[in-house]
Amino acid sequence: MALVAVRELRAERRQPDGVVAAVTFIAVLVLLESLVVGPQIARDADVAAALFWLALTFATILATMRSFDRELEDDALEGLVALPGGRDALFGGKVLSLTIVLLLVAVVGGVLSLVLLDLRVALAPHLLVVVLLGVLALPPIVIVDVVLALRLRARAALVPILALPVLVPQLVAATRGTSAALSGDAVGALAWAGLLFAFAVVYTVIGLTIVPAAIE
C-alpha cells in the first residue's frame, strides 16, 4: 500500500497536472463565488462552507480521474494489481496518496476562501479537525466510482452522477461542521466531525470490501 502511495505521489510530483487542475478549479470557484452571489452572501458561513466542500468534491473527482488516466496511459494498472497486496493495496495506496494531495488542495482552497472572502474563523482548531476528517471521507467513494467508470465512454459525466449522491451525507456533515467552526459553535463542530470520522471509516471499509470486485 505504501509502495503504491509513494509511487503515486512521485508521479504527481513529476507530472503535477492532477494537483494543478484541482487547485485551479477550486481557486476559480472561490473567485466566482463572490462574483455570482455577491460578497455579502459569499461571506456567510453556511454559503462559504457549502461552496468550499462542493468545490473540493469536484476537485477530488478531477484529481482521481487524472490519477487513473495516468495509469491507463502508461498501461500500469495491471502491474499495480500484480504487486503484493494486489487490489487492496492499490485501493489503499490510492486513498492515501489522494488524501495527501487533497489536503494540499484543501489548504490552498481554504486559505483562498478565508483571505478573498474575508471570513472570520471563530474556532481554528475545530475547523482544522473538520477539514481533515472531511477530506479523509472523500477519496474512498470517489475512487470506487472512478474504477467503476474506468474505460467507459462519457466517463467524465458518469463519475459525478455516481459519486455525488452517495457523498451527500458526507457533504452535509462537512458543510455543517465547517459552518459551525466558522461561527463559534464548538459542540456542533465536534458532533459533525465525529460523524465525518464515521463516514471516513464506513467508506474505507466499503471500498476495501468491494474494490477487489470492481477492479478487473
Binding site: L148, L158, I161, V166, P169, I210
Partner: protein
C-alpha cells in the same frame, strides 16, 4: 467471464399469469377500499386518500432497491446471471416507482403544504435516491461486456443501498414539514384508524403483487436476452 454460469430456462413464465390475476384483483379491491370504504380524514378531508398510493409506492421503492442490493451481492458471490437479471429488473421498476412516489408526493403536497415541492429532507433524499438509481441504469447502459457490466452495476448497487435508510429516517433526523413515519414507528403502534390501516395494508399487498408481476416479466425478458447473448 470464464467462471460465469451460463443461464438456462426458467419457471417464471408459468407463475406470471397467476401473479397478474392476483395483482389486478387485489388492486381493484384496494382501490375500492381506498376510495369508498376508508373514512374521510378529520383534518385533510378526502385529499389524504392519496396516502393509499403514496405509501405503497414508497414501500416498493425501498423494496426494489433492497432487492437490487441482495441480487448484487448474489451476483458477486456466485456469478449466476439470474442475480444480474433480478438486479436490473428491480432497479428499473424501482426507478419507475420512485418517480411515481415523487409525483404522488407532489400532488399531495400542493393542497396540504401549498407547494408542489419544498426543500425538506424526505423529498430531497428521495430525489437523490431516484438520481442514484438513474445513475445505476446509466452505468449499466454504458458498459458493453456482460460480465463487466454486471460486476460494475453490482458494486454500485451495494453502495447505493445506503440511501434507503437515509430516506426513511430523514424525517426523524431533521425538523421537516413531512409527517413522521405512520406505520413503521419506533416504539409505537401505527398512528392510523383501524379501517384506514387495513386499507393501507391491502394497498401495500396489492402494490407488492404488482411489483412481483413486473419482476417476473422483466426477469424473464432479461434471462431471454442473456440466453441470446450466450448463444450468439
Amino acid at each position: 467471464m470464464t467462471d460465469t454460469i451460463i443461464p438456462r430456462g426458467n419457471a417464471l413464465p408459468r407463475i406470471r399469469p397467476w401473479l397478474g390475476i392476483a395483482a389486478a384483483a387485489s388492486f381493484v379491491v384496494a382501490s375500492v377500499m381506498a376510495l369508498f370504504w376508508a373514512p374521510t380524514d378529520a383534518v385533510q378531508g378526502d385529499v389524504y386518500r392519496i396516502l393509499y398510493v403514496h405509501v405503497p409506492l414508497a414501500w416498493l421503492a425501498y423494496l426494489a432497491f433492497v432487492v437490487v442490493f441482495l441480487a448484487s451481492v448474489g451476483w458477486l458471490w456466485t456469478k449466476r446471471p439470474f442475480f444480474d437479471a433480478v438486479a436490473v429488473a428491480s432497479a428499473e421498476i424501482g426507478v419507475l416507482f420512485t418517480g411515481l412516489f415523487l409525483v404522488a408526493g407532489s400532488i399531495w403536497a400542493k393542497p396540504t403544504w401549498g407547494v408542489w415541492w419544498t426543500w425538506e429532507p424526505r423529498l430531497v433524499t428521495t430525489a437523490i435516491m431516484f438520481v442514484m438509481y438513474v445513475g445505476y441504469l446509466l452505468l449499466r447502459g454504458l458498459s458493453t461486456d456482460f460480465s463487466r457490466r454486471a460486476t460494475r452495476a453490482a458494486v454500485f448497487g451495494i453502495i447505493a443501498v445506503i440511501d434507503v435508510p437515509i430516506v426513511h429516517l430523514s424525517v426523524l433526523w431533521a425538523n421537516s414539514l413531512h409527517q413522521l413515519p405512520t406505520v413503521l414507528r419506533a416504539g409505537g403502534s401505527p398512528a392510523l384508524d383501524s379501517s384506514m390501516l387495513l386499507t393501507l395494508m391491502v394497498s401495500l399487498g396489492a402494490y407488492t403483487l404488482i411489483y412481483a408481476y413486473f419482476m417476473t416479466a422483466r426477469v424473464s425478458l432479461e434471462l431471454a436476452r442473456q440466453g441470446r447473448l450466450w448463444t450468439t
